[in-house]
Structure formats: C-alpha cells, structure tokens
Symmetry: C2
Subunit: 605 residues, 2 copies
C-alpha cells in the first residue's frame, strides 16, 4: 500500500519507488506463472511471452467479459479472420508503405536500435542527471521530447550526430536512421511469388468483409463488427516487458455509421458518467486531466460526436468493472499532430502504471478512410445506400473528359490525366471550370505523373446537372475502439496488487484483489489438516463446484493454514473454503479476511 | 433427409449424391455467412477462410464447451503461447527437418502440385473410369493407393514418370518430387539473423514449459496442460474447402504421466461407453469398425493403456454432445506404418462427411519423445521425480569409456565414439560387454560417423553396480489429444443439416439442428406484424434476454412469419419468440415446430 501510495503520489523519488513496486509485482507474476518469457529453456526471445495457467485464466475471463459487454449487449457481428494476410490488403491499408519505425545500426556489430528511443533516452538522461546544462539547452531537449514522433529521418539523424549519440552497448558509431517495416513477412504457398504478412491489426479483416456484413445486417446502418485475435509487430528492440511485445491479442470493433448522422440511440445510458478526460486544449496549456461529465463533453463538442462518446463511456465501464482504478484511468484526446489526416477525432484510454500513462484502448473516428482505400484497390464498392421515401432532385457535378483531345495532347499519359480529371473533388472541379471559361486553359496537377499539365477548354466538360435520385450512395464512417488486451491485463495486475503484513508481522504478503469476474480461480478448497475424512469432504465440494461451473483448486498439501491462505491470496482467489469438520466448513473472503461458517452442502452451492 | 440417407447409405451413385449434398450445405453456409473465403474482394487466397457472424459464434461456443469439458472438469493447466516461434524450438521437435510434403513443379509454368495427390488422382481415375485395365494392373494401383504415405521421393518420382503423369492444368512435364517444408517462415527482429516460423501446432509451447508447469502442479504427476490457438501449415495446394486450410485453430492437451503407471483415476467413469472402434486388426483384415465397449478395449489391450482410453471416452462424449452423429463417428487406430517410431499407440477420432472419413481429433501416446528432444537440445532436464519413502538399492548400468585408448584409436572421431558408447541402452551395452569378454573386441555402430568401428576390451568398461537411491528420475510419457476445431465444426455443419418441405410444399427449406449449446443464436424475437406496440414488447423481451446472457436477434422486417421462421431455421436458432399480442407471446421450437404460449414476462425469462 505504501508502494502504491508512492506511485500515485509522485514524490521526489517516484521513479525509484515505481521500479521497486514493479519489481515486486513482476516477480510475483513470474513466480506464480501468470506469465513466462516464451521459450525460456532456449533463453527466450525478446518481446514474446506465454500466459501461464493463472494468466491464461485471467485473459480468458477478460475476453469472455469483453464479448459479453460489447458483442452480445450491442448485437455486434463478430468475425474471425486469419492472421496470414496477402500483401495487396496491407498495401491498400497503407501498412506496407507506412507501418515503420526508424532504425539505426551499430556500424561495427550490426545491432539494431530504435532511433527515437536512443534520442529520447539521451534527452531524458541529460535533463535528469546533468545539472550543468543551460536553461536554453534544457528547453531544446524538452522540445525534442515533445516532438519526437514528428521528426523526419534526416532530422533524427542530424540530432543523433549533433549530440554524439553512440550505440549504448558498445559506444560504436551509428548508421543514419532508416525506416524498418514492423510487419513479420512471409510467403504464401510454395511458389514464393505471393508475399504475405502476419496482420499488424485485426481491423482489415472486417473492412474487406464490409459488403457481406452490411448485407447480413439487412443493408442497414449503423452496425458494428468485432474481432478478437492475434496481431504481430516485429519490434526493433522490445522494452517495457508485457507492454511492448511482438505478438499480442487485440479486440477490435468497427462501428459503421452514416457520416451525416453520428448520433447513438443509447448515448443517454452513458451520458451521466463522470471520469477523467484530458482534451487537447488542457494538454496544450499544460493542465491535467479533469473530471468531466461525458454528456457535457459531447454536447460542448469536445468529443466530436455521440457515437464516439458512447464508446468512450462503454470502454470506461468495461475497464473499471474489470478492476482498473478509475483514478488512474483517463481518456486523452489525440493532439492534431498525432492524428492521421483522415481521422475526425481520437481518444486513448490511458491507464497509469509503473511505466507511466499507457495507451490501452484507442477510440478513433477514422471517417471513411479504410473503406475508401479498399474500394479503390479492389474495385469493389464498399458503400451503403439510403433509400429515399420519394425520389429527390439533386444537383450533381458531371465531369466528362474528352478522350480524343487528351489522347492527342498527352499520348501515353492520357490515361493518367483522364483519371486525375475524373477524381477531382467538387471544389477543385469548379475552380478548373471557372479557369477554363475565363482563360481557355489552366494548369492542372496530375499526381501520378508528378507534375502539372496544361488543360484546354476542349479537353474536359464540367457541368452541374439536376438528377432525380431514388437513393443516396455513400461510404460509411467507421468508429473504431481497439483494445490491447495484454496491456489492459498488465495494468490490471498492477492495480490489483497490494501487500499486507503476515499475522506474525514478520513478512509482507502479496495479494491480488481481482474481482470474481476476473479471478483466475474463484475458490480454493482445503482440508484444515491432512485427514482422509476431510479430504473426501473436499472432493465432495469440488464436485459440486465443477457441476456449478465454478473454477477452483484443491490444496491438500500439509502446509499451515496461514501459508495456504497466503498462497491463494497471491493468485487472487477471492474465496477459500476450509474443511475443518465433516459437517461444517469455513468460507473466507480474500480482502476483508471475513469468515463465515456454513454446512458442507451450502459450501458446495 | 433423402440426401443424408444417400450419404450414409453408400448407394451406387454415392459420390454424386454426396457432392450434391455438400453443395447444398456449403451454399447455405456461405450465403448465411457461416464462413467467407478470406479477402474475397481481392479474389481470395486458397486455404484461408473467415468465420462470419454465425460461424464465429458456433466456434466460440465449441471452444467454450471444450474449455469446460476438458480444462475445467479435469483441472488442466491452460497456457497461451505465441505463434511466432524461433527456429531452434522447431529444430528440436523435428519440424524443420521433417515437416514436409513432396512437391512437383510444372517445368514450364512453375505451378506447384503435391506429388502424392497427382499420383492418387491418377490411380483413382484409372480404377474408376478405365474399364480396360487388367486385374493385375488394378491390384498394382490399389497397392499404390494403400502405401502412398510410405513412398520415398524417388519411388514417387519413378511412378509419375512410369505412368506419364503431367501437370493437370497444362499437360506440361513435371519436375522430380522434392520435399517442401510446410511451415510459414519469417524472421524475428530487425537483424534478419534470427529465423522463425509460425507454429505448425500448439504442443511445443507446452513441452518447453514442462519444468515450470510440473513445479506449478506441486511436482506431482499425472497432470495435463492444454492450449487453444492458431496453427499454420503452408499447404502446397489446398483442397477440400474448410478441411485443409493454411491457418486453423487447434485445441491440444498434453497429459503427462509416469510411463510405469498409465492408469487413470477416473477411467471407470467412461468404461461403460460403447461406440464404433476400428482397431488395427480389423483394418488389416478388411473389416469395418465395430461397436465396442471402451472398458473391454482397454482390458483386452486393444487400447494400449487406461489413460489413452480415458481420453478416447472423453473425446467421444465431447463430440456427440456437440451434435456429431455417433453413427458417423469412429475411433480408428493407426497402423504400424502410420505411427511415429516413438509412439506407443495412436487413435484418430474420424467423422464421416461428404468428403469421406475425416480425421478430426488425434489421440496419441507419444511416450517420452518430445520432452527428451527438448532436454537434449536445450540442456535443461525436463524430467519428473518420484521420491522414495525409504532409499532403495537399485542396480545400474555404468559405462566408462577409456578416453585415452579411444583417442589413440580414433583420433578426431574420438568424441563421436565416446558419445555413442555412453548413449547405449541397457540391452545393447550388455551385448557389447559379453562380446568384449568373450572375443576381446566387437563391431560397434557409430551413427554420427555413419559406419561401424572395432571396439577393443580396453576401450570401455561396462558394469552393473548397486546404488542406493532416494528417488527415481524419469522423463514422463505424454498422451496428446489434439483437436482440429475447424474440421470438427465443418463436420458438425454437415451432421446438423437437413431439409424439409415448406408449408405450401413448393420448396425445400434448410435447417441446422444445432443443440442449444452450439447454436450461434439461441433465440429470435419477432413481432408478428410491424406494429409499434409489438416492437416495444420485442425490445422488452430482448432486454431481459440480454440480462440473462442469452444471445438473440430481433427480426423486425415485414416478411411473412413463415419466411422469418425459415430464415431462423437456416441459422440453426433453436427457439423463436413471436410477439402476437401485448400480453402473451408464442415460443416455437425449431425441429419439432412445437409452439407454446406464455405471458410476456415468462417469455423474457
């Protein structure tokens, strides 16, 4: 408790205390096999961990509750897609080109490092340990830390050179930074001609199925699809234990909605919730997260829309019911420079643990980006329809390139010019139309050619026409809550952990205060002393617990009752049934240590 | 029903009827999104499938029941290990060297085929369609079919040449067969120096953790560990739809047991079960599977031991409770040539579907093979201990090579000879001892050198000594039930499917008779007609079903009641609640079509 107080308190030696606390938790977790470094007998592989029996049970409880809380309660369409993914899908999504981290190599040994980590470590160390640096220098280093994610490879490389940063292990010089793609690459089939990757997220499997899922939902919006599954990131040099790993379980929701109506029918059910929110404005002005009523945040426009708000509320309920401490949970809005250009708004559920504030759930309004990208790449229209009760007259922009004239003017490049003309947005097209009408020609940028060309007024006809339409066809927006299950579980371990003195007061005993929902084992059964009559009562109780579907464990070792309680507390088992007669048993609750006596029959029930 | 009767009946045109039946089932499954070819908008990838919403729900129900039936009821230690696996682990297990299929390439186009599939297709077609072949030739082709799995690359290549088999698509000549490793290869970390694979099974993750799991279990045997997860096989040319895929979910159990005591405490609970067994003897003599009492099969020694028998019984209960037809389920013993050399016994749960008898669960006694392989490769002893109540005097074989003499005789090969001598089993050592004593020297095979050498009596001392020991140290045997979840689910789809005439008798309607345990949705709720009062009753019932955790779907489309029943039957929903008043509702059961009327409140409960 002292340690925990120190963690939240943030006293002078906070970092040290935090590490001590983490050491105690991690030690307990590894000793009791909540998790195990994978392939340990072969000295392991960085960034890969196994869940041992209690960890695996916690994980499966968390996932079962996720399914209940999101999929079942909201009637989501759950799907299950493969991890192996052909290149074209991840080319469309942008991962092949952009899912990279900047890497530097030790020029002599070839050891690889993340460039931004080295620069970050350097700045932090300088700021913390070098008392001689000027205020100006300190400001410069702080600025670097704040803008680290925005630095170009060249800028990063220049800073590394400027500060003389070398390889941490050898002090050798480092290469220039270059992008390393974080996907595990493989090859599908025996020919070697079909490159594939292990998916870096589960979302793409949902997007490519949009058309079928929309049909399955009766061609109606809004609806949500969901997926739980493994995802893979070939981290350059994983650190932070269970928080940054190379393979992890994601649970993702893609909620498809009409971009013109992002209300949510059930928003009122979460509108009254109050919790810590950390909007952009507060971050920019150096303030802290503030207790906010969700309904207000949406009505004020701090949160972009009610659907996004609804999911923020549901995520809050999910995490706190698992046992995450609400005082160490905040919803932080992405700054403008953090968000993808297409995103409408994005909030991370961040949980505070000994590593600081950790992003555990991302809740983003990704607008129509993903569906549009796959529509373009696959040629299959991933769109929704709104049928009008009566036909409506709408004004539509019509662009008709004159292929003959364009062919004469641009020869082999004709196709690129035609496609660029047809792809114009309304505003651009109207500008071009005006220019052609006034001047007879205009400059026009053809991205695919990498340059501008001159378009004459006989090359394209741009007009606005009135058309009667029976329906509106549009690309839905998608609101995506994405859960890093392993990170949530690790934070849950830290938030659930405390120590208390043994009865004799001579040692500190470890306890996980998991709620029964999450606890790996719900109940331990043990005979007070090793005696056949007691053991058979224990077996009897065990059988009725099995029938009732209550996970439990019998402990028939000859240890003292105190030792056995301590062992069961350390696994976070909420209840212990001690058999101390053939008629009655004692049930003890973990945190209060309260005991009640009930008959054997009741004990089993 | 007619179609199904034809499938089991095996009439003359069985193959044709089977295909028609399969066509109807698969069509229904794809149309209702039980599954979807993955990445369909990009024209898919052979051997990769998604589970759509109802398929995903069936899968998650099957896995939840698996966990209940095996992990919880037997107190197994469940673990969860990564799919990405470093090479050394799969080198130890033998997969890097031996997990291959023989492949041939179209010499002009490079298209790859499985060599055995081409030969098999050729033989089958000849036997079925060429009426001119002699009895002798027919016998030859049948022999090939029977021994297909045992053919060496050379023998396979010779047969392909002899029969003039060419590439099926182009009729081009084929390359010689060569082994293709079926694991998806990748590289771990950015250096490119640590090769890895996507695991081909989940079992290795358990074996490498044996030491920790044994400790977790209080250093006691027997105990079982279990794992559910994805596995990957880069098939050369996947066929058979959902049955042979490149990524699939396995659920595996590794039950560790003292090789000297393979009894099982709970065997009596399954001993009275009777089902179809197909022992080696019956297969060799051309008989069929026979109804057998499990207890008898174990006591007669047909099944090697009671633990193996216990799992066979538990697998039988699991599959039939899911809805697998017990008359189309058999346990087939591996023939001697099918089993790995180290296996003590092996039985496959085979389920009959339109593709024939399909292996869905393998239940193998793998002896100590896996733990020994990892002990040797990692240098970490994966062993168990039996503490004796009192020290025991045991006779032990002691082999002491005389390194000096061996060095003089074998120079650089000395180490290989020494290791071979030390690795001798008891019988071999005693034979060598006798030979040396009688003749003064003996031939001795050194595998690592690939030849025999002459060992003289001064080169090694072999003796039996009496030693007092406090414990026995041994490598446990492992009994491994391994479940192909996707295959079980596909067979379940076929076994659950039937058609029945519509009320008007003008069309056949599809029904899946899933038990409630498996059904993707337990209940549909629909207002008889579109009317706000009925809809709000439907919403009321929906809310109480949500609270009760019953998965359900509201259907408020304006279709006729008959159409909506048909749609719900086709998803295998066992119950439908029709709201036809504000006071009472009608509950209808899927298969009997029985209806009962209850009050709204009861309907929700």
């Amino acid at each position: 408790k002292q340690l925990q107080a120190a963690v939240s308190g943030g006293s002078g030696d906070g970092a040290l205390t935090r590490e001590a606390f983490r050491h105690t938790v991690v030690n307990t977790l590894e000793r009791r096999l909540f998790y195990i470094p994978s392939f340990k007998i072969y000295r392991g592989v960085a960034g890969l961990y196994d869940y041992g029996p209690p960890g695996c049970a916690v994980k499966s409880n968390v996932l079962a509750y996720w399914r209940q809380h999101f999929v079942h309660e909201e009637n989501m369409l759950e799907v299950d897609c493969p991890c192996v993914t052909p290149e074209i899908v991840l080319k469309a999504s942008g991962h092949v080109d952009k899912f990279t981290d900047l890497m530097v190599k030790d020029e002599k040994t070839g050891t690889c490092y993340r460039a931004d980590h080295l620069l970050k470590d350097f700045c932090n160390e300088k700021l913390q340990k070098d008392l001689s640096i000027s205020a100006e220098k300190a400001a410069e280093l702080k600025l670097i830390l704040a803008t680290l994610d925005d630095l170009s490879p060249d800028a990063l490389g220049a800073k590394i050179k400027e500060y003389g940063i070398t390889a941490p292990d050898t002090k050798n010089p480092l290469s220039d930074p270059y992008p390393f793609n974080l996907m595990f690459q493989t090859s599908i089939g025996p020919s070697g001609l079909l490159p594939g990757y292990m998916r870096p997220e589960t979302a793409q499997g949902i997007f490519v199925n949009f058309k079928d899922l929309y049909y399955y939902n009766g061609n109606k919006l809004p609806f949500a699809a969901a997926q739980i599954g493994q995802a893979f990131r070939n981290e350059i040099s994983p650190r932070q234990g269970l928080l940054r790993v190379r393979e992890f379980t994601l649970a993702e929701i893609e909620h498809f909605v009409d971009p013109e109506d992002k209300n949510h029918a059930k928003f009122s059910e979460v509108a009254d919730l109050e919790f810590l929110m950390f909007p952009r404005e507060q971050q920019m002005s150096g303030q802290s997260a503030i207790l906010t009523q969700l309904g207000e945040a949406v009505s004020k426009g701090t949160v972009n829309n009610a659907t996004l708000g609804y999911f923020i509320g549901r995520v809050y309920l999910f995490l706190t019911r698992l046992g995450i401490d609400k005082d160490r949970l905040r919803f932080r809005q992405h700054l403008a420079n953090e968000m993808a250009h297409y995103a409408a708004d994005c909030w991370d559920a961040e949980i505070e643990c000994s590593y600081g504030w950790i992003e555990c759930v991302g809740i983003a309004d990704r607008s129509a980006y993903d569906l549009k990208a796959h529509t373009e790449k696959s040629g299959v229209a991933l769109v929704a329809h709104e049928k009008f009760a009566e036909p409506r007259e709408v004004e539509k922009l019509v662009i008709v390139p004159n292929k003959k004239e364009l062919g004469l003017a641009f020869k082999g490049n004709q196709k690129m010019v035609v496609e660029s003309l047809e792809a114009m947005g309304e505003e651009e097209a109207l500008q071009l139309k005006a220019a052609l009408e006034s001047k007879g020609d205009a400059e026009f940028l053809v991205c695919a050619m990498g340059k501008s060309v001159i378009i004459k007024d006989n090359m394209v006809k741009i007009s606005k026409q009135k058309i009667r339409e029976n329906q509106r066809v549009f690309t839905p927006s998608v609101i995506e809550p994405s859960f890093g299950i392993g990170r949530i579980i690790y934070c849950l371990f830290e938030h659930s952990f405390y120590t208390r003195p043994s009865k004799a007061g001579d040692e500190q005993l470890n306890v996980f205060r998991f709620p029964p929902l999450v606890a790996p084992i719900k109940c331990t059964v043990f005979p007070l002393i090793q005696k056949p009559e007691y053991e058979s009562v224990a077996q009897l109780i065990s059988r009725s617990l099995t029938v009732a579907g209550v996970s439990h464990k019998i402990d028939i070792t000859g240890n003292t009752i105190g030792k056995r309680y301590a062992r069961t507390d350390e696994l976070g088992v909420p209840f212990a049934i001690t058999v101390d007669s053939q008629v009655d048993v004692t049930i003890r609750e973990r945190d209060s240590k309260d005991q009640v006596r009930v008959s054997v029959g009741e004990g089993g029930n």
